[in-house]
Amino acid sequence: MAATFGEMSVRQIQAGLAAREFSAAEVARATLERIGAADEAVHAFLQVTEDLALAAASRVDAAAAEGRLAELGPLAGVPVGYKDNMNLTGTRTTCSSNMLRDYVSPYTATCVQRTLDAGALPIGKLNMDEFAFGSSTETSAFGPTRNPWDLGRVPGGSSGGSAAAVAAGLVPVTLGSDTGGSIRQPGSFCGIVAVKPTYGVVSRYGVVAFGSSLDQVGPFARSVEDAALALNAIAGRDELDCTSQPCDVDFTANLAEGAAGLRVGVVPAFMEAAGLTAEVRAKVEEAASALEAAGAVLVDVELPHAQAAMSAYYVLGPCEAFSNLARFDSVRYGYCDPGHADLGSQYEASRERGFGPEARRRIMLGSYLLSAGVYDTYYYPAQQVRTLITRDYLDAFEKVDVILAPVAPRTAFKFGEIGDPTEMYLSDMFTISINIAGNGGMSMPVGLGADTGMPVGVQLIAPPFRDANMLRAAAALEQVFGPAPVAPAFADGKAGE
């Protein structure tokens, strides 16, 4: 079978549209059909938005007929999927929670709107860990997503659906969100390009909040250029999110520059970290050598407080989640347990049955950590540690343009393999400090691990608002390792058999 549209790059789709080889309506219909055939095995999609995709396609086709295709924007005619914590008017936005099972978005998130303004075909909403609390997508109330590279393994999380949909070649581009690693870790587990930009590059307006000082939206794709094009579409100031910053960077501009002269930091303590598997470590070393061979200069850098990031995050994240999830009151929206004669018992039963176990744990943990007396023991020191971690990165970036590190300590694990919450939290040991400091980080696939045969991503970390640095380094790695392949069981239109 010929390559499906989901296997094409953004530029290939646009070239085909421009040459009238196919229409955007054909792209939309074929993509919907492909999802219908292949997603039963993966369960990346919670909802397919056929009517919206076809309506967007007809707008693209009308523009093409008038010769205005070039005016449409960087994602014209490209099917895009969205993590299900992103509002899109008229769709359900569930956060993979029973709490929001029936919630219909009355408005559209800015990041989603910007893809639509750029000509994207909104194809559906993607599975995730409930309220983004997790690293495996196993906490979804609607069942887990499976890793297209091995259906017995998790895709990572929390943006597991967003990563799996791209890895299976169902769509070329998706959006996810990252609070402690939720874009980069599933990107690594599924072997695709996954970008968490600097905090402030992309508006979070309309994205259901988890940790407001940590959350950032970013793209998944199978090539660096596709990710950069998607980032071009969604980045920039939005008056509806006061943390969003003006951004006039073209993220594709320096992708062809190569690594010559690039100063790449390597953190020795990360490479020696307990828990880092040999196969991941070998891949990070291979990536470092590849960059060096391409003319980069490798420099050892220290991040002495990075090991404190883990405990700081598991203080700050639950505190912010506790605050953000207080809004689910069973009155204005969300699950309402029926038949209660008093409001108190309605609240308690609705939040008990609406939230899953991990959400309940984090809410209660956050409440405890913010309580009088306890606040000074954990929350305040965590914010002081944040200062030290931020300084560490700023010091390191005096010496280097980008830092190379592992994404996750291991490749994708099997379903049920990790049951203990604190052990699951270790999945994010190399990604969390970036959210704490707020700078950019991404996962770049560099082939398969020698022991598990599963994809391995390396992490590229950029100084604040210099996200172009990591994209440039990623493009240099892509020259060596190639763009991310579609998972073999789904290549050439296969459906996981």
Partner: protein, 103 residues
């Protein structure tokens, strides 16, 4: 493992956060929370004298007011479209004052 929280404490937190828990769930939650809080201990072991906290990654923001011009918001219908229970254009909740019970 240090006992940071007793089951009594956990019942108190559940009440405060408005999350109903069965007796068995209280036991499990107490164990889970104690284990997680134990894992946070590194944060208590740093010398942080004189280190200013960073509450937000973008530190130099100040609040600004937009121009006071009329702008459309949600209609009443849109605001109520996800309400589990509504009546006469309002959110409906069980009675919270005096007699009468639920409507």
């Amino acid at each position: 493992m240090t006992q940071h929280l007793t089951e009594h404490d956990v019942r108190g937190i559940a009440e405060y956060t408005r999350i109903g828990l069965t007796a068995e769930e209280v036991v499990a939650m107490t164990a889970d929370l104690n284990a997680i809080i134990d894992s946070l201990s590194p944060i208590t072991e740093y010398d942080l004298d004189g280190v200013e906290p960073t509450f937000h990654p973008i530190g130099d923001l100040s609040n600004v007011m937009r121009d006071d011009v009329e702008r459309a918001g949600f209609t009443q219908e849109t605001a109520l479209m996800n309400a589990p229970r509504q009546e006469d254009g309002s959110f409906l909740i069980p009675s919270i004052l005096g007699e009468g019970g639920d409507r």
